[in-house]
């Protein structure tokens, strides 16, 4: 047991509210499983040593800084802002479209408490250590309910800013009703030494659609561990775009559970890492029911001394006949010291399925670069033409124009700052 985890458990014992049963369960699991060491397969390439000996640090109360949220031009958004773990948006003051309800994790209404308690921890698998920490400690978050049939136009943009050295834990719970559709963007940022966890759970009912974004834009000394967990019911669909910058420690676990038939999941992930950054993406797709489809593309560029970890697992259960699943991971290394650990994993127990997976790692082609430059094209432009196309392709697939137009220049600028060695 690490010092930090013991303190987390002590802290969690003080929390008393309507979520107590889940919290107790989480504490028991944490005590039973202990701290994940190097031999723990899911943390094999991502050292937790900087966290292990950390002193638990609650956010300073009472002086919540004023947040400054970067606007996304042309985006019709409902913005929910967390600063150092605390929800600073006044939910009561929001004017929401019909069919959309947003509440905090501490509603006074017993029915809402019940709805939250039903969802909290029900989709996120119990094996995520930091998910359990979040279960035990998290008191700040939002619960989004989309009524059956409601088509919610604006993007619910949830921003998680961390700018003090504290432990912060937040939760996003979303229930998308039958035949409804909604767009949710989760965006985290911060550069100071800190530990933040943000786990999101989505229950997507029959024929419902979720357009989802997770932008893990922490940098420098920030440590962020989070997850996005989706449960897809009959004929529902998910289109998710994940973006990862690296930092001291940045880890994202994604689980997609096909719990109904004919569900479709599309997952695109992009990561751009420089200097000594680390980004670790673990995705697990569970095909438990027949006739589902999954299309997953993870693409990244790793420069300097940065390190990326990608673990993509597709598990096709015995009953999941006629599943179509594709998983592809492409990487570009910009320097000799950059590193990627990539591992696609297919586990198939049904006999009538179509599955494909692949992973590639490439390096900068000096000959092609020189060729373009002999035609008057600048080195930076040539680098973008040669090496950014495969990232741009995924950005172009983003269904929301305002988001893709905001993201593309950010990513290309980040790419151009990386040194090729």
């Amino acid at each position: 047991m690490s010092q930090w985890l013991s303190q987390v458990i002590d802290e969690a014992r003080q929390v008393t509210d309507y979520l107590e049963p889940v919290r107790q369960q989480a504490i028991a699991k944490l005590q039973q499983n202990g701290w994940p060491g190097r031999r723990n397969e899911s943390w094999r390439f991502t050292p937790l040593s900087s966290l292990e000996k950390r002193q638990f640090q609650a956010p300073s109360a009472g002086n919540t800084p004023v947040s400054s949220v970067e606007t996304i031009t042309g985006l019709n958004a409902i913005e929910l802002v967390f600063v150092n773990g605390e929800l600073v948006t006044n939910l009561a003051a929001l004017s929401l479209p019909e069919g959309l309800t947003i509440t905090s994790l501490a509603p006074d209404n017993a029915l809402q408490q019940q709805a939250i308690a039903e969802l909290f921890g029900s989709i996120k698998p119990g094996h995520h250590v930091f998910g359990l920490v979040n279960d035990a400690l998290c008191q700040q978050g939002v619960y989004v309910d989309v009524a059956a049939g409601a088509k919610i136009e604006p993007v619910i943009r949830i921003i998680n800013q961390v700018d003090e050295d504290a432990d912060t834990h937040n939760r996003i719970l979303v229930r998308v009703g039958e035949g409804a559709s909604v767009r949710v963007m989760e965006q985290g940022e911060g550069s100071v030494s800190s530990v933040s966890t943000l786990f999101a759970e989505y229950c997507i009912a029959d024929n419902a659609h979720l357009e989802h974004y997770r932008m893990v834009m922490f940098s420098d000394s920030a440590r962020h561990i989070g997850g996005c967990h989706f449960k897809l019911h009959n004929a529902s669909s998910l289109n998710s775009t994940l973006v990862g910058y690296g930092s001291e420690l940045s880890r994202l676990d994604v689980d997609v559970i096909h719990a109904g038939e004919h569900a479709n999941a599309k997952l695109n992930a992009i990561y751009l890492l420089a200097e000594g950054e680390l980004f670790d993406l673990h995705t697990t797709i569970e095909h438990a029911m027949p006739n589902g489809t999954t299309e997953e593309n993870a693409r990244g560029i790793v420069g300097d001394r940065a390190r990326a970890v990608f673990n993509g697992r597709i598990h096709i259960h015995r009953d999941a006949q006629k599943t179509l699943a594709e998983l592809n991971n492409r990487n570009l290394l910009l320097s000799r010291r950059a590193l990627i650990n990539t591992k696609p994993e297919l586990e198939i127990y049904a006999d009538d399925v179509k599955c494909a997976h692949g992973a590639t790692v490439a390096e900068i082609e000096e000959k092609a670069l020189y060729y373009l430059m002999t035609r008057g094209i600048s080195r930076s432009k040539a680098l973008v033409m040669l090496n950014f196309g495969f990232i741009q392709e995924l950005v172009n697939q983003i269904p929301n124009k305002a988001i893709s137009e905001w993201l593309l220049p950010k990513l290309s600028e980040r790419f151009l700052m990386m040194e090729v060695k």
Binding site: E365, E366, K367, A368, Y370, Y371, L372, M373, T374, R375, G376, I377, S378, R379, K381, M385, L386, G389, F390
Partner: protein, 253 residues
């Protein structure tokens, strides 16, 4: 236009060019011939500024500027064009996108507005027809899956669009049949306007039947050992590089 004085260059610490002198005036066509390993391709790479080709001595002046001080792309924008012996395949970047980027970079240098997509397409189609390539080659990845001859024609198409002042053709004839050779030569000849200069690097005299040189130089062991008019090429054709001495006779046999 181009003045090379006592040029020495090495690759991975091996001296390849060993005191080369050459002066090219506007409108002239110079052929450089020589046996394998004489440094013919190296000259093109050194002039274009390829990384790893180190100039150890000498100077190169191009249109009154110090060429060796310029970056690869600056040399291109200043009007130097190198047609490669082995053009690189770049899947994922379309020929069209690539050439538009190139042409507009050149235009920017000359203080001209960038061409719109429609304007460029019109020019590109004309150039494409001129080198007898089907129009769908514009949409394909740069040189991706092109045959040897198609790659050479693609180089000439780029040359036509770039409107350079000095073209260096590095063995643009190698691996071509007579028809393709004719197309490449026609492309080059169409660009001869009395001002634009050419350095035609070739192993064989054959190309020079189609592109008439004003001067022929023989490059051997990193130096120009003999210069003359077009008749020198015919002499080489007839008796090989024997006059250079036994060493080259064997290499070339």
């Amino acid at each position: 236009m181009l003045k090379i004085q006592n040029l020495h260059a090495s690759v991975e610490d091996k001296d390849i060019i060993k005191g080369l002198n050459l002066e090219v005036n506007p409108g002239e066509v110079h052929a450089i011939m020589g046996p394998n390993g004489a440094g013919k391709s190296t000259l093109g790479y050194v002039l274009s500024g390829r990384e790893g080709y180190e100039v150890t001595e000498g100077s190169v002046t191009f249109n009154e500027s110090d060429l060796l001080e310029m970056e690869v792309e600056e040399r291109a924008r200043a009007g130097l064009f190198l047609a490669f012996q082995y053009p690189v395949e770049i899947p994922g970047v379309s020929n069209m996108e690539f050439m538009k980027e190139s042409v507009n970079a050149m235009r920017e240098e000359r203080g001209l507005e960038p061409l719109t997509a429609a304007e460029f397409l019109k020019k590109a189609k004309e150039a494409c027809k001129q080198v007898h390539l089907p129009l769908d080659f514009l949409k394909r990845g740069v040189n991706e899956g092109f045959s040897g001859g198609e790659k050479k024609r693609n180089e000439i198409m780029q040359m036509i669009l770039a409107e350079p002042t000095l073209c260096i053709l590095d063995e643009s004839d190698s691996g071509l049949d007579v028809d393709a050779l004719q197309v490449v030569a026609d492309g080059v000849n169409s660009q001869r306007d009395g001002k634009r200069s050419f350095i035609v690097v070739t192993h064989y005299q054959r190309l020079l039947d189609y592109i008439k040189p004003d001067f022929v130089h023989i490059l051997a062991d990193g130096k120009i050992v003999k210069s003359g008019d077009a008749s020198l090429a015919l002499e080489v054709e007839k008796s090989g590089y024997a006059f250079l001495g036994k060493k080259y006779e064997e290499v070339d046999a």
